[in-house]
């Protein structure tokens, strides 16, 4: 309980429905915008496996991070939870709101690595 109550930050949402049942990763094509009351843009396109293969990401917690007391816990990972479980719509102390968290996690990394989409319409694609 204590750990859950602590500052935990999660990023790119794995759409984990019902909390327990983990869907097949192959089916993930976009980041769900369900937690947002009135999403203004289409959900961000995200092909989980293709992305990771291309980006050379092996450790889950590169994205599915866990923060405690403002520090990232390198040995832990949060792919068993939804981003929205930790990130509310608004910022809470040092914990960014959901939208900001997504943008930082994805776009922040893209900007840093100078690879991948960075402008609005590249992720929030109109089909």
């Amino acid at each position: 309980m204590k750990r859950l109550a602590a500052t935990v930050l999660t990023a790119v949402a794995l759409a984990v429905f019902g909390g327990m049942g983990v869907r097949s990763q192959e089916e993930m094509k976009q980041v769900s915008s369900d937690p947002f009351p009135r999403p203004q843009r289409p959900p961000a396109v995200f092909l989980h496996d293709a992305h990771n293969a291309k980006a050379g990401i092996e450790a889950c917690n590169e994205c599915h991070h866990v923060y405690e007391d403002g520090k990232r816990r390198e040995e832990e990972s949060s792919e068993d939870r939804r981003c929205a479980d930790c990130h509310g719509l608004a910022d809470e102390g040092g914990r960014p709101g959901l939208r900001k968290a997504y943008h930082r996690n994805c776009r922040g990394c893209h900007l840093e690595r100078r690879q991948g989409p960075i402008v609005c319409g590249e992720c929030h694609r109109r089909s």
């Binding site: 843009r41 900007l111 100078r114 402008v119 609005c120 319409g121 590249e122």
Partner: protein, 219 residues
């Protein structure tokens, strides 16, 4: 393109805001000092009450006689200027950037509204362009710079709409959107877009002369 984006949203954006804010302040200060040096009497006649009275009659649509004489132009010009100022400030995508960079945010317009308002701005530019071509007394005093100002104003909105609708290359048009927006900001102190800075002053001065000295209306 990544590099160009980083440049456009990094150093160039800083530069654009610096030139816009610094340049605008410089222009106002320059005018103020010029008035102090050569036409100090302007301060004698300046009246806050009558200045505001005059401005009030001109910033309310149809409150001045000449606004009522040109209903179409009045409707367009008010809608145009309102959308021109409000859309960039209250566009969600811009607020997101402010929020992520500076942790400041404010309520946003729904994107549907923002896109509609952008079309109002673009439509306004087309209207003004047509006016410059068609109305003889406007054509007579139109110069290349007038078209330039229209282009500068329309460009961020046209590219913004294209980027939003994701026509053509999204990244290219987003970058063009940023660059054209910066160009417009930079242009404010250096082109006649500076009527945005000076018009309240000229109006207020005329209002002061009419109100306090001439005891007459100026609307």
């Amino acid at each position: 393109m990544n590099e160009l984006y980083r440049l456009a949203t990094g150093p160039l954006l800083w530069a654009a805001f610096a030139v816009f804010v610094g340049g605008s302040l410089y222009r106002l200060l320059e005018l103020f000092l010029l008035a102090r040096r050569r036409e100090r009497f302007l301060f004698t006649y300046f009246s806050l009450r009558y200045g505001l009275r005059s401005i009030a009659h001109w910033v309310v649509p149809f409150a001045a006689t000449n606004w009522r004489r040109h209903p179409a132009l009045t409707a367009v010009t008010f809608a145009f200027h309102l959308c021109l100022l409000l859309t960039p400030i209250f566009l969600l995508a811009h607020i997101v950037l402010w929020e992520e960079a500076w942790n400041v945010s404010w309520p946003a317009l729904p994107d549907d509204w923002a896109i509609g308002m952008s079309f109002v701005v673009i439509g306004g530019c087309l209207f003004f362009f047509a006016r410059r071509r068609v109305v003889p007394e406007v054509a007579y005093v139109t110069s290349a710079s007038d078209y330039g100002i229209l282009l500068l104003t329309a460009a961020p909105f046209v590219t913004g709409v294209i980027a939003y609708l994701q026509w053509f290359d999204v990244r290219l048009f987003t970058v063009l959107h940023v660059l054209s927006g910066e160009a417009m900001l930079v242009a404010v102190p250096f082109t006649r877009i500076r009527h945005m800075l000076f018009a309240p002053l000229t109006r207020a001065y005329m209002g002061s002369e009419f109100g306090a000295v001439r005891h007459a209306r100026d609307w």
